[in-house]
C-alpha cells in the first residue's frame, strides 16, 4: 500500500515537471510522454484511493 502511494507521488511529480518543461520548451518532451506520465499518475492514484478501507 505504501509502495503504491509512493509510486503515485513519484509519477504525479514527474508528470507535473513534464508539463512545466513542455511549457518552457516544447521540444524537451513530446506530448505523448506527458500524456503517458499523466495517465500513469492518475491510474496509480486511483488505485491507491480504491485500495483504502471505506469508512461508513
Amino acid at each position: 500500500m505504501k509502495n503504491l502511494a509512493l509510486l503515485a507521488g513519484i509519477l504525479s511529480v514527474s508528470a507535473l515537471l513534464c508539463f512545466i518543461l513542455r511549457y518552457l520548451h516544447p521540444a524537451t518532451f513530446t506530448s505523448a510522454t506527458t500524456a503517458i506520465l499523466t495517465l500513469a499518475a492518475a491510474l496509480t492514484t486511483a488505485g491507491y484511493i480504491a485500495s483504502q478501507p471505506h469508512g461508513n
Binding site: 509512493l6 507521488g9 513519484i10 511529480v13 514527474s14 516544447p26 521540444a27
Partner: protein, 199 residues
C-alpha cells in the same frame, strides 16, 4: 504525518524526469531532411533525382526526434557545383529569419560538373528548435565574380537576376551526442526563457 514520503516522491519524480531527459540526450541516428525550397517556400525542381538550385539561398527542415541539447549534426552531401564559387550551410540560431552562421564546405574558381562529396559537422545546442522539434537548414551559394560584374549586385533583391546554378545529388543528416561548451549551454538556457509563448 511524516514528511519523508513527500520528499521521496519529489526526488523520485525529479530522477524519473532526469532519466527520461538522459534517454533523449543519448539518442542518435539518421533524421529526415525535407525538400529544398526557395526562401519563399517554392520547392526546387528535381531532375534525374538531383535537386537543381537556382537561387543563392535554399532552405530545408531537418526533422529531429529529440531536443538539440548536447547534440551535433553530421551532414553528408553530394553535389555538382557547376560555376558556383562557394557553397556554405548553416542552421538557424534565433527567431530572426536569417540568423545563420554558415559553414563553408566548397570553394573553387573553376567550373566543375562532377559530383563532389562533403561532410559538415554542426553543433546544435545553441540552435533554434521549433515546437515540432524540427530545425531550419539553409544553403548559401555564391556566384562567380565574373557574373557579379556582368550581372547585377542586386541579385538578392531581384531573384530573376540570380544566376546561381548548382545541383544537390544527395543529402543525409545524422545526429549524435556531443559535449556542448559553456557558451552553447548558456544560449540554450537563454533561448528557453526568451521564447515567445501563447498567453
Amino acid at each position: 504525518m511524516t514528511k519523508r514520503p513527500i520528499i521521496t516522491s519529489i526526488l523520485g519524480g525529479i530522477l524519473l524526469i532526469a532519466a527520461l531527459a538522459l534517454i533523449n540526450v543519448l539518442q542518435q541516428g539518421e533524421r529526415v531532411v525535407t525538400l529544398l525550397t526557395t526562401i519563399r517556400g517554392v520547392p526546387y525542381p528535381s531532375l534525374q533525382n538531383r535537386t537543381v538550385i537556382t537561387e543563392s539561398l535554399a532552405h530545408a527542415d531537418i526533422e529531429l526526434v529529440e531536443p538539440v541539447l548536447a547534440k551535433e549534426l553530421e551532414l553528408t552531401l553530394e553535389f555538382i557545383p557547376h560555376r558556383t564559387t562557394s557553397l556554405a550551410v548553416g542552421i538557424r540560431r534565433d527567431p530572426f529569419w536569417l540568423s545563420y552562421k554558415p559553414t563553408v564546405f566548397y570553394t573553387s574558381t573553376t567550373e566543375s560538373t562532377k559530383p563532389i562529396s562533403a561532410t559538415v559537422n554542426i553543433p546544435l545546442t545553441d540552435k533554434l528548435q521549433d515546437a515540432d522539434r524540427s530545425i531550419d537548414l539553409m544553403f548559401f551559394a555564391d556566384t562567380s565574380p565574373a557574373e557579379i560584374v556582368s550581372g547585377s549586385s542586386a541579385v538578392l533583391d531581384t531573384p530573376t537576376l540570380d544566376t546561381t546554378n548548382w545541383e544537390l545529388v544527395s543529402i543525409s543528416a545524422r545526429v549524435h551526442p556531443t559535449r556542448p561548451d559553456g557558451t552553447a549551454i548558456k544560449e540554450y538556457v537563454r533561448s528557453i526563457f526568451k521564447r515567445e509563448r501563447p498567453l
